[in-house]
C-alpha cells in the first residue's frame, strides 16, 4: 500500500531514519549468513550505501524493510567477504548440555545449519516473514522455501525441543 503522495520521498525511507530503525536488523541477518562479525560490519555499511541509491523509490515502511533485507541477502552472497570459510566465530558461551537449552545454544544450532536453511529460519522466526514473503524476498518459489523451512525445522528439532518448530 502506498502511503505517500506522488513526487515526495517517504519520511521513513530517509536513509538516516531507515538506519536508526533497521541497522540492527540488517546486521543480524548479515551475521546469521556470514557467521562473522567483521564481515557483518562491512555488509552493514555496504547495504546502506546501496540503499542510498534507491531510498527515494520506497513506497512504504514495509518496502523499506524488505528492500534493506533484500540488499543484505545480495551483499552477503558476495565473494568479497570471508563468507566462504566454513569457520564459525565462536560465541561467548561454552556449549551447554542438552538439558540447558540456552539462547546461545539455540543460536548456535541455527548457525550450524547450511546457508539456505539458516537464512529462511532467520527470515521467518526473527523477521517474521511468511513463506510467501520469503519467496518474494529471494525471488524463489514458495514451494522451494516451504521445503527449506521444513527441512531446517526438522533438523533443529533434533536438538531443540520446542512447540513452535
Amino acid at each position: 500500500m502506498s502511503n505517500k503522495a506522488i513526487g515526495t520521498v517517504l519520511e521513513a525511507a530517509m536513509p538516516a531514519n531507515a538506519f536508526e530503525k533497521y541497522a540492527n536488523t540488517v546486521y543480524r541477518l548479515a551475521f546469521v549468513r556470514t557467521k562473522n562479525k567483521a564481515d557483518s560490519d562491512d555488509i552493514l555499511q555496504e547495504v546502506f550505501l546501496r540503499y542510498m541509491k534507491v531510498y527515494e523509490k520506497m513506497e512504504s515502511e514495509e518496502h523499506v524493510k524488505a528492500m534493506l533485507l533484500r540488499i543484505t541477502v545480495n551483499c552477503s552472497n558476495s565473494l568479497k567477504t570471508s563468507f566462504w570459510q566454513k569457520k564459525t566465530e565462536p560465541l561467548d558461551e561454552k556449549l551447554q548440555s542438552e538439558d540447558e537449552i540456552t539462547d546461545t545454544y539455540v543460536l548456535q544450532q541455527v548457525l550450524n545449519l547450511p546457508l539456505k536453511y539458516r537464512t529462511v529460519i532467520h527470515l521467518h522466526y526473527y523477521c517474521g516473514y511468511s513463506v510467501e514473503e520469503i519467496a518474494n524476498l529471494q525471488n524463489s518459489n514458495p514451494s522451494t522455501i516451504k521445503t527449506q523451512l521444513a527441512r531446517a525445522r526438522a533438523t533443529l528439532k533434533k536438538t531443540i525441543k520446542a512447540d513452535d518448530l
Binding site: 500500500m1 502506498s2 506522488i6 513526487g7 515526495t8 520521498v9 530517509m14 538516516a16 538506519f19 536508526e20 541497522a23 540492527n24 546486521y27 543480524r28 551475521f31 546469521v32 562479525k37 560490519d41 552493514l44 555499511q45 546502506f48 542510498m52 541509491k53 534507491v54 527515494e56 523509490k57 513506497e59 518496502h63 528492500m67 533484500r70 545480495n74 552472497n77 565473494l79 566462504w84 542438552e98 537449552i101 539462547d103 546461545t104 545454544y105 539455540v106 543460536l107 550450524n112 547450511p114 529460519i121 522466526y125 526473527y126 518474494n136 524476498l137 525471488n139 524463489s140 518459489n141 514451494s143 521445503t147 526438522a154 533438523t155 533434533k158 536438538t159 520446542a162 513452535d164 518448530l165
Partner: protein, 616 residues
Amino acid sequence: MFSDKYNSALNEVSPDEKIKQKILNSINENQVKPKLHFKRAAITSVAVAASMLIVITSGFLGIKTGNLLNAKLSAPKNYEEIYKAVKKSAKSSYFLLEDEAVDVTVAEGNFNMYAKTESQTATDQTNDDHSDTTVQVEGVDEADLVKTDGKYIYKLDSVNSTFTIIKAGKKPTVESETDLTIDRYFLYEEMYLYENYVVFFYDDCLTYKNTLVAVYNVSDVKNPVKVHEFIQRGDVETTRLIGGTFYLLTNYGISREDIEKDEPETYVPTFVCNQNKSVMSADDILISPNHKNAAYTVICAYDISDGKVISDKALFCNTYTVYCSKSNIILASIAGEETVVYRYSISKEGKIQYCSEGKIRGSLLNQFSIDEYNDYFRFVTTATNSQKVDYEFTSAVTTVTSNSLYVLDKNLKQVGKVENIAPGERVYSVRFMGDTAYFVTFRQIDPLFSVDLSNPKEPKIIGALKIPGFSDYLFPFGEGKLFGIGQDADEKTGQVGNVKISMFDISNPANVTEEAKEILFSNYSESLFTHKATFINKNKNLIGFPMTDYSYDTTSYYMIYSYENGKFVQKAKVNFGKTFENLRGLYIGEEFYIISDDTLYVYNISDFSKVAEIKI
C-alpha cells in the same frame, strides 16, 4: 519456545557503536535533500494478492501447425499482445535496484571451443558396470552431487564452489579440484555428466532473474575447461538430461517496474548462448489465463557438445511440479483447488512442442505423482474438500483432504478416475509401475494403496495395506518387491518417529504385505527429502542411504543393507562424523564408494571390507 530464545540471542548481537556512528555520519553527509520528482505512472494502491484472471481479447488464435487448438490458451501473434498480457498481471516489485538493472550480462570465464568430444586417453579402465543417479524415469537423467562414468567419480561441493575429479579404483586419487566460482552467481548443488562434458548451473544472486549454465570439457581430468555458457531468464524449476540434450526449466517472474513497452526483452524471455543473445519469438510463447502474477515457465533444450540452443518455448503461467519422460514434459500449475496440466512433447533431437492441456482435482506432491505409460498420463493428487457435517442441533462445514487418481489420454482428456480415497489423509509417496500404481497416504496409519491401471478407463483400487508410519519414497526392488523409506509413527497418537525402511511384497497387488521393516536410530535422513540420496540396486542386492543422528553431537552415517530371506541385513554403517548431509553411495565394478563433502571411502562390494579412504 524456539522463537523467543532465538530472538533473545540475536538481540545480543549488534554492530559496534563506533561503526554505527561512522555509517550514520557518512549518511548524513551524503544524504541528498529530497527533491520533487514524478513517477512514470500514477501511484495507486498496489493490488494485493487477489488472483487476476486475464481475458485475452485478441480472440481465438490458432496455434502453430501440429498442435491442437485449445480455447483456454492463446498464441500471441506479436510482442504487443504479450506486452498487454504481461502488463495486466504484473505486480509491483519491492526489489528493483535501479543501478543493478535486469540486464543479462555474461560472466567472465576462459572459453575454449572444442569441436566434439575427444576420446578417452590410452590407459582405459572404464568399467561399464557402475551405478547411476537414482532417477524416476530410466533414460532421463536428473542432476545430482555426484556422477560417475565408471572410471572417474565427479563430485560437487557447492559450499566451496569446487568440483573434484577422483580416479576410481582400489587406490583412488584426486585428479583435480576446480574452482567453479563466478562472481555474483551462486552454484547449485547438482550437476550432469555426459560423455566428456559436465554441466553446472548457477543462480544470479544480484537480480535473481537469471540462471547461468556452464559446460566444462573433462577429457583432460587434470584440467577441466569451460567450453560453453548459457544464460536463461528465470530461476531454476528443474532440469533433465536426455542423451546429449540438456533441458532447463525456469520460472521467470516479471515485476511491473521492469516492463518497457518498446523493449521486448523486458517482458519476453531471453537467453544468451555463448555470448549471443536472443529474445524468444512470439511464436514460441503461449499465454495461459491461469496465473496470479506475471510469470513464465521457460523451457529450453541445449545441445551440450555443440553449445547450441536446440529449442525454446515459454508458457505464461507458474508451474509447481514438472514431470519429464523421454518424450514428454508435463507442467502442472495450480488453479484454485485444481491443477491444470500442460503437455509439451520433446523429440529425440530435442525439439519442444506444445501439445495439450488438461485439468485434475487437487494438487500433486512431487514429480513421482505423475507418470506416462502407453500414451496415458496418470496422476495422484490430494484435494481439499469442504464437507458439511450435521450435528444434532446444528451443522458445520469442515475442510477435509481426500485423494484421487486420474488417468488422462495423450490429449489430456480424462478417461478414468478414482476419487475420495482415504479422506482426512494426504499422499506421502507414489510409485507407478506399469499397470499398477502404489501410493501411501498418511494421517496416523499408513495405507499403502495398490491401484490396477490395466484398463485406463477403469482404474481400480485393489489393495490397501494399513501400517503405522509412512513412506516418503517408494522404489521397485526386483520382481514382486517394493522398497519404501519414510518414518515410523505411534499407532495410537500418530506421533512421528524414527526413520523406517520397509520391504513390501507386491507379487499379488491385491494382497500387499509388509514383509520386513527396520526402524533406524534417528528421525532424520536426507532420503526422506530426495530420491537421489537413496542408492538401490536389485542386481547387487544393495540399498544405501544416509542417516543423521542428532542425539548428542551431530553425526552422519551411511547405511548399507541387503535383503536376504525376507529380512534386511545391515552390511555397513559408515561414520562420517560431523557432516550435515550430501552423502552419496555408488558402485563401480567390484568397489562400492561412499562420498561426502570431504571424504571418500572405498569398500569391497561383496564383503564390505574397507579398501581405501581419502580426503578430497
